[in-house]
């Protein structure tokens, strides 16, 4: 490995780690600033309160809380699942969320790249119209429409009770497929991914190498694909990071167990260890993806090594 490449990678790694520390610090500050705390949910007795505050270390200074969070000293849950090991809770939730996140990510990549690569934009209005809807609204609308449609059909004797009925309460293939689709498409996610890929493709189509091939009447698809790889790595990583945030809403709307729902509930219940652990894991995931994207870009494009 050349010195420039090593320096570039080191710089990217330091930036990613710094970003993660900043994110966790911000999370701990927000938690401390949030109105009410976990003890408020447990007791209003001043004496009990004082004991629990000491017991849980709620009065610990900021730097201690951040160091504990980053060091993985998360201990046990306070209010969400009192006594349960936070690492286990978050680990289990991540495993539950992984298929949803991965499904949405792959769907974004496959549909996004395929759509962007089309020479002719077919029925342009369809995707923006669908993708413009917020994740929450899109999910809720689908659930209501399917439930009401099926309920009416059952009432009219046209349909026996489907195995997925009623959404989102039954763990079914339809619920899971809808969740994947909504996470991938909603809030403009898929649309912006397609636009980004298309924009990069346009840039590459105007590059001298591609124009030279075109001038000679030779196919350019393979070259375009190769040129797109670094861009795609970055865009895919960025989209993957955004999907982490989407999990919170989608898991709530579709009543699915997972890391997003756990994070939400932990915030509501002011369960600081669970919130912090979820934050650390999410930050690690996002930072890791960005690091991979950066590395891919630096490795693929020697021009970037000097700017590290």
């Amino acid at each position: 490995m050349s010195g420039a490449l090593a320096r570039a990678l080191l710089g990217r790694t330091a930036a990613v780690f710094g970003g993660m520390v900043a994110a966790i610090t911000a999370l701990v500050v927000l938690l401390k600033a949030a109105p009410g705390d976990a003890v408020d949910l447990v007791t209003t007795d001043p004496e009990l309160r004082a004991r629990l505050v000491a017991d849980w270390g709620l009065d610990a200074p900021l730097h201690e809380a951040v160091l504990r969070a980053l060091g993985g000293q998360w201990g046990t849950s306070w209010t969400l699942r009192p006594g349960a090991q936070v690492a286990e809770l978050v680990g289990d939730a991540l495993v539950q969320s992984l298929p949803l996140w991965l499904g949405a990510w792959l769907l974004t990549l496959v549909v996004g790249v395929g759509w962007a690569a089309r020479r002719r934009a077919v029925r342009k209005w369809r995707l923006p119209a669908l993708s413009a809807a917020p994740v929450f609204l899109l999910g809720w609308g689908l659930i209501v429409a399917l439930n009401e449609g099926a309920f009416s059909a059952m009432g009219a004797g046209l349909l026996e009770r489907p195995s997925w009925f009623s959404l989102p309460d039954t763990d079914s293939w339809l619920r899971n497929a809808l969740a994947v689709g909504v996470l991938a498409v909603g809030s403009g996610g898929l649309r912006s991914f397609i636009d980004s890929v298309r924009s990069r493709l346009d840039v590459h189509r105007r590059s001298p190498a591609v124009e030279a091939l075109v001038a000679r009447g030779q196919p350019v698809d393979r070259l375009l694909a190769w040129l797109l790889v670094p861009d795609l790595a970055v865009l895919a990583a960025e989209r993957g990071a955004l999907l982490f945030g989407g999990l919170v809403v989608v898991e709530r709307v579709f009543a699915m167990p997972g890391a997003g729902g756990l994070f939400w509930e932990a915030c509501v219940r002011r369960d600081q260890p669970v919130v912090v652990a979820s934050g650390v894991v999410a930050a690690l995931g996002v930072a890791g993806l960005r690091w991979l994207a950066d590395v891919a870009r630096v490795v693929a494009d020697p021009r970037l090594r000097g700017s590290a």
């Binding site: 949910l41 009192p82 949803l100 994947v180």
Partner: protein
């Protein structure tokens, strides 16, 4: 878990519009799954807004947890259908002549869900654990009147009280825990017991599901058994507006509480039965009497007279306006105290007497408009409608009303209970069968966050607590009702009519107004 590509929503709903052969094949495959129905016997599923964080009667803080406790655990005594105290784990009680102690005989035919016998050690343990300061139990106040407890035999205990008790059995409804599963009377909130609770109730805990639901199965050897309902599932559905849909869809069998707006649609469904029940709950607008101008009784009374209670009530349901801190069906409700009616003239007199003048349509004093800032818990159903209507109502009579704030539980507890950082609160008080309002209205009450103080009310509440004579208690508390109503520490609004909904596939349903499942062993599932 999932196929990577979901069906296009439009193709699911309107297949003919985008009917390509591939889509049609996918639709047919999907349809085959649509019609695959479960033919198993349905469990009894009921809905809670929030799954219990902890299943341990020592640390119960929500009604959802209390309802689950009712299925899993027993107290020494319980309620019969007339809400009279009857033995449960106890066989009987003999109270001493001076009413400062009692011997309780326990049943010897009861086993815990793990097969161990129920004994006096369990009762001794439970009371000592609740009283143990290091246990940090919010339920400690329930046994503060018990000075000591000792086993006098394998199935008998002696309780010594801190003072004479008129009816100790009425206060022995708290749930009993198995001593053999704890190492001492100091119990931590995170004790593993709450993840695998063992009781003597009609159902035993099976497991927490990943979707936060809780599964219970019928227990054998407990104090009572249920033969008809073979599985109980507590489902968490945080969206209240969706709960009524679930019972219509046959996705659950019962709703603990039906939103007023859902009553009509459920009433119209022949597969759902509504069960009205009387709760000891009433709504109020409470003043922080430690903040100006709400420390002035005449300003509080004036504001009360500016409010049309019935007009506020009608959009949110049916119920009964109240004139004081009890529901009209309570023996302590003083029917001689009239419900306040809107009286703009009298309100104007009171405000003028307090130095307010109406300038430009707004009541002001020293250039400061009379301003109302209402805080309300977000989880209180219909609170938004009430608060917004209240805002509109007061603004039309010259009171400036800032936009109401709705806060989550943690912020509510911090601002109202801990820091007293509020001016007016719109909320609801719910009481158990004892209807003990001492903590709310005694100057030393732990729930008296409005800083209300009236020495005569304190005296009467102490008298009601200490007297052995039920009639004297009734008289004292009716006087409290009158005094509190006169002092206007809050605007007493109404008690709402409450309804549960249960599918008609469950019959012989009787619902306890507070704990819901007390009589579940009498319920019958199935159409037979």
């Amino acid at each position: 878990m999932t196929p990577p590509v979901p069906p296009h929503p439009s193709s699911t709903m309107r297949p003919s519009t985008f009917a390509s052969p591939r889509r049609l094949r996918a639709l047919m495959a999907g349809s085959a799954l649509f019609v695959a129905t479960a033919a198993q016997a349905a469990p009894f599923r009921y809905v809670e807004d929030r799954a219990p964080a902890i299943v341990d009667p020592l640390f119960t803080t929500t009604m959802g947890e209390a309802r689950l406790n009712e299925l899993l655990f027993d107290g020494l005594f319980t309620d019969d259908r007339q809400l009279a105290t009857v033995p449960s784990l106890a066989k009987g009680i003999q109270v001493s002549a001076d009413r400062t102690s009692a011997d309780v005989d326990l049943r010897s035919d009861v086993q815990w869900h793990d097969g161990k016998p129920f004994t006096s050690a369990d009762v001794v343990f439970t009371i000592r654990a609740m009283k143990e300061p290091k246990t940090l139990s919010p339920e400690g106040a329930r046994v503060s009147w018990i000075d000591s407890v000792e086993a006098t035999g394998p199935h008998s205990v002696r309780l010594t009280f801190t003072g004479p008790q008129p009816s100790p059995a009425d206060r022995l409804h708290f749930k009993i825990l198995p001593a053999h599963l704890f190492s001492g009377t100091v119990v931590r909130r995170d004790d593993p017991f709450h993840t695998r609770p063992i009781g003597t109730g009609p159902y035993r805990f099976e497991r927490f599901e990943t979707d936060h639901s809780v599964k219970l199965s019928p227990a054998t050897g407990g104090s009572r058994s249920s033969e008809s309902i073979t599985e109980v599932v507590m489902r968490e559905v945080s969206d209240k507006s969706y709960q009524a849909k679930l019972i219509l869809y046959e996705s659950v069998e019962a709703l603990v509480r039906v939103l007023p707006r859902d009553l009509a649609i459920l009433q119209a469904d022949r597969n759902v039965e509504l069960y009205p029940y009387q709760t000891n709950s009433w709504w109020y607008v409470g003043f922080n009497q430690a903040s100006s101008p709400w420390d002035e009784p005449e300003v509080r009374e004036a504001l009360s007279l500016l409010i049309d209670t019935r007009a506020l009530l009608s959009p949110v349901g049916t119920g009964h306006p109240v004139s004081g801190p009890y529901v009209p069906s309570s023996p302590y409700y003083n029917h001689d105290v009239p419900v306040l009616t809107r009286d703009l003239g009298r309100a104007a007199e009171l405000l003028e007497g307090a130095g307010y003048v109406r300038e430009g349509g707004t009541w002001s004093r020293n250039g400061e408009p009379l301003t109302v800032r209402v805080l309300s818990p977000r989880g209180l159903e219909s609170a938004q409608e009430v608060a917004i209507n209240l805002q509109s109502m007061l603004q039309t009579v010259g009171v400036k009303v800032d936009n109401p704030r709705f806060v989550d539980e943690a912020e509510w507890k911090r601002r109202v209970w801990r820091e007293r950082d509020f001016e007016l609160v719109l909320s609801q008080w719910s009481f158990d069968r004892t209807e003990d309002i001492r903590q709310q209205f005694h100057s030393e009450g732990s729930r008296n966050f409005g800083s209300y103080s009236n020495p005569e009310v304190d005296r009467l509440l102490d008298e009601a607590r200490d007297t052995l004579d039920p009639q004297a208690k009734k008289t004292a508390l009716r006087q409290v009702h009158r005094l509190v109503s006169d002092d206007a520490p809050m605007v007493f609004l109404w008690t709402l009519d409450s309804y549960s909904a249960v599918r008609t596939s469950v019959r012989k349903v009787a619902i306890h107004p507070f704990y819901f499942f007390t009589w579940i062993t009498d319920w019958v599932a199935g159409s037979g």
